[in-house]
Symmetry: C2
Subunit: 563 residues, 2 copies
């Protein structure tokens, strides 16, 4: 068996480490600025790829991410595995009953989302092949068909990731988008297989009719009989195999075999693992814990690796033709956003939702790049058009999340951790009575934020006098609404002796959260109170938080308790 | 960037799926027969590799596991990643305080475990090079040095896996073995780097002195300053990054970067990730949940893939020289078992423990194969010797677990699930009183096992009369010891109305376990009672088990509740 050289192994491990580190850090940064993590991950790849690092340190870059040889192939194999497993998780999250409910809608949106960009692309490439970067020597019809397909495909992985990032994945809108995207992409890949058949390449191991037939047959099988079989097999595995290795192994084997099958059939591997995920995730026997183990490992390790890997593939500066890029971008967005939006309106969605749908479906991401790569390899398109397609894929992917966020006016529920001020963290309150404690904590929080301590203290005491703020389980949440605050402020005090806050369970409070919220913002106080109650639902969290060494450890504890 | 072809992707995904399926199924089978899972996993690889599948279906085998080309390299890259991550998990499980306590012992054992096989190998290969398969043309000293190194190295991954399978990993003996093996292998790899330097290959990117210096420096750094840094960083990540993605990503990046470093230095990548794991696992801030996610995914997906992959590497029949194989095997076992056993005795261990230690350290597994592959590539050894080394590596790995199990007389605590009889699963008891319930259940269990119903019923009723068997939380465990039983028997009955078994908490029993145990086996009754109490510690399990649809689902539920 061929094996990697010493140097290739070193480079591969380092490359994976650097890529994952970059993707995770920029992904977190993107989230920090309320952007989807996938944005940061792709940018990390561009920074580490030929576009930036390749220019600044060409030798190191060539060592880390070799263009050819064993290391490059091994990395490509890993990326394929990563995207396959990511689609397994995306599939597991699909709620089939919602999809059925959204079925008609998804069909209309999916159809409109293909036909309009397809027509635009076919027309444009047929009448103006030179403008579209067409190769004069090639067959004009095939070129036009390819452009049309390239413009009408979307990117299931990016769309799924964006929807997950926005917490929209399991919503009705999210499931409509996913169902439409699956439909859309299946048709797109089948058309592409037809094109490959026309130029006599035969990416598929079987004929075109066989590809279409087997794809549909497989999808139907997985969603009916396969699903039922899996539902029966899981309890059997629980009963006879070790836990949780049995189910974990089964899920992986299923995903791998299904994706190998669809790849063999001639559509992309990701459809197989996606369908495997859908069938698997639908079984009520699959334990929450197993789902979480797979989802966490894949979403936080494999997915960032793959999305960062996209940025590695091209030098975006060397092969850049501004006119072509803009043209492709405009036609792509126009066709997709208008097409899907129109489909949404036709199916009776609101204007706002239709726009969101259009932008959601507009992301092309990895699929476009894979399609472009294949077309480039088979000589269907030239380099400038390839770069234009990749840029279009990235831009549409990047704008998808923010656009949906803005259109739907999404806001995440606010957490108290975000507003806690380090200087208002008092790990050892001196006070032993309720009033003194409020005075001590109010003073610290007011000073940390440049407010007048007296005003703050009086407001909190006045509120406390109306109704005591002990919420039980050793926690009290004194609070007040203040005029002229820019945003919420929070402080926390820990009392070793316990202070009576007249809680319903009679327990003295050891953990005191002081909340100051702006008078004009009604919702935030309720959100923060709910967040505190939720965070301390587990007794462990409360006890550990009393023993935290320092502010960072304290908020680390609060943030890492999701169980 | 180079990428895999359509056919290579298909083959890679299918190969991974088949390999994982084979490894998991045979691994489970091995466990079923009380053997370590790793045995089944390696056998799965041999069956799927050139030795069996390659002979039966050469074309399919060549498609699935190509000997060269992109697919082979991608698979090799994945295997490297798999072994690296497995060593991360092995490292995370190390209990540093135990290792320090065992430090002197481990040093003595490690030294004796190197010196004796090294001397045996050096002498044998120096005086009888022809017998040992030496190449007449090569340098005799270098050949002798290589044989000596090959005989004195052990296989940290296989040893770790075997100890985990036997539930010995965190015991004093287990930690001694691990510490000695780490010491042993570090020395072995450094000697190998010296040999490569002597023949002018320079597997290391730096000189020999630099390799030794940097390896030791890195190990010391990771176990002191690195460990302290990681302990500080984790709460910061909890506080500032998303959960649990922040810590998961950090652990992976750390493992990848450290393993790239040690690979670059010239010792194998696995030392880096092992040390990263030790440093990481030692931090009390690392949550149990994060450990479990990493450990489960790696132990049940990556590790089986890697261990099955070993079997793929050679055709064990074509290059087989019985005399050479036996010679190598005998010298290897003699040197290692005697050397380590002697070391153990010297350090004051009991005879039994010393033998177990010797057989534990005797496993050569993957390390030997990697070493052999490198030696083969560099022309140090010929094919027959390579096969002999591989067979020796496999045989020593395979006998390690069973030998330790027998020497230490290990028994796993018995679980009630193993003895439940399908025909004594009564999901709807007709009885409403205690006596009737016992009669109904005893009858079913007795008939299912071919015993006399009357004798059984009387014995259980007599025992119940001595002291009621309600254990609270809705569970009762009527039981009896019988003469002449071959092994324990268990039945279960579910009462929808609840039957009074005089439990300490006063709750009527809805779940009734009937246990019949052999009179001569004192321990089993206690073990089974403890197992039932442990299984139902979580209220969920109890409620779900009442609603199970059928026997398989019922035992599946019991087995999959470890939380």
């Amino acid at each position: 068996m061929a094996s990697l050289s010493h140097q290739e192994i070193t480079a591969l491990l380092l490359a994976l480490g650097v890529l994952l580190a970059g993707a995770r850090v920029l992904g977190e940064l993107a989230r920090h600025f309320n952007q989807p993590a996938v944005l940061g991950e792709i940018v990390a790849g561009i920074l580490l790829g030929p576009t930036v690092l390749g220019q600044l340190a060409p030798k190191f870059s060539a060592f880390l991410f070799p263009a050819a040889g064993g290391g490059a192939l091994a990395l490509d194999g890993l990326m394929t595995l990563a995207i396959t497993l990511f689609l397994l998780v995306a599939g597991m999250e699909v709620d089939l009953s919602t999809v059925w409910r959204q079925g008609r809608l998804a069909l209309v949106v999916g159809l409109a989302g293909i036909l309009i960009p397809f027509a635009l692309g076919l027309g444009g490439a047929w009448y103006f092949p030179d403008l579209m970067g067409g190769d004069a020597g090639g067959d004009q019809l095939i070129f036009a068909l390819f452009i049309a397909t390239a413009l009408s495909i979307s990117a299931l992985p990016v769309i799924a990731r964006t929807l997950m990032d926005l917490n929209l994945y399991r919503s009705d809108l999210g499931m409509t988008i996913i169902a439409a995207a699956v439909f859309n992409d299946l048709v797109g890949w089948i058309v592409f297989a037809v094109i490959l058949g026309l130029i006599g390449v035969g990416g598929a191991s079987a004929g075109i009719a066989a590809t279409i037939g087997m794809t549909l047959g497989f999808a139907v099988f997985m969603l009916t009989l396969g699903r039922a079989l899996i539902h029966r097999i899981i309890p059997w595995i629980h009963a006879h195999a070790s836990w949780p290795g049995g189910v974990l192994g089964f899920a992986m084997v299923l995903a791998l075999v299904c994706s190998a099958f669809t790849e063999w059939v001639g559509v992309h591997a990701i459809f197989g693992s996606f369908l495997a995920g859908v069938a698997l995730g639908d079984s009520g026997h699959l334990r929450q814990r197993t789902r979480a183990t797979i989802a966490q490992f894949v979403s936080f390790i494999f997915a960032p690796l793959f999305f960062a890997g996209i940025g590695l593939r091209v030098n975006f500066i060397a092969h850049f033709d501004l006119g072509l890029v803009l043209l492709i971008l405009v036609i792509a967005c126009l066709g997709k956003v208008v097409g899907c939006g129109l489909g949404g309106r036709l199916a009776g969605m609101s204007v706002r939702e239709s726009w969101a749908l259009g932008f959601g479906m507009n992301a092309r991401g990895a699929m476009e790049i894979i399609l472009g790569l294949l077309a480039l390899e088979y000589g269907l398109i030239g380099e400038p058009l390839f770069v234009a397609l990749v840029v279009m894929a990235l831009v549409t992917s990047l704008m998808s999340g923010p656009a949906m966020q803005r259109i739907l006016r999404l806001k995440k529920p606010r957490c108290v951790v975000r507003y806690l001020r380090p200087k208002a963290y008092l790990p050892a309150l001196k006070a032993t009575g309720r009033q003194e404690a409020i005075v001590e904590l109010s003073r610290a929080l007011a000073l940390s934020a440049g407010l007048d301590p007296v005003t703050v203290t009086e407001a909190v005491l006045a509120r406390e006098a109306l109704m005591p703020t002990g919420i039980g389980r050793g926690i009290a949440v004194p609070h007040a609404r203040l005029d002229g605050l820019a945003g919420p402020l929070a402080g926390v005090g820990i009392s070793r002796v316990g202070i009576d806050f007249d809680a319903p369970d009679g327990c003295p409070a050891m953990l005191l959260f002081l909340l100051l919220t702006p008078k004009q913002d009604d919702g935030v106080q309720v959100e923060l109170l709910a967040d505190i109650a939720r965070t301390f639902r587990q007794r462990d969290t409360f006890e550990q938080s009393l023993q935290a060494k320092g502010f960072t450890e304290f908020i680390g504890l609060l943030k890492s308790n999701d169980e």
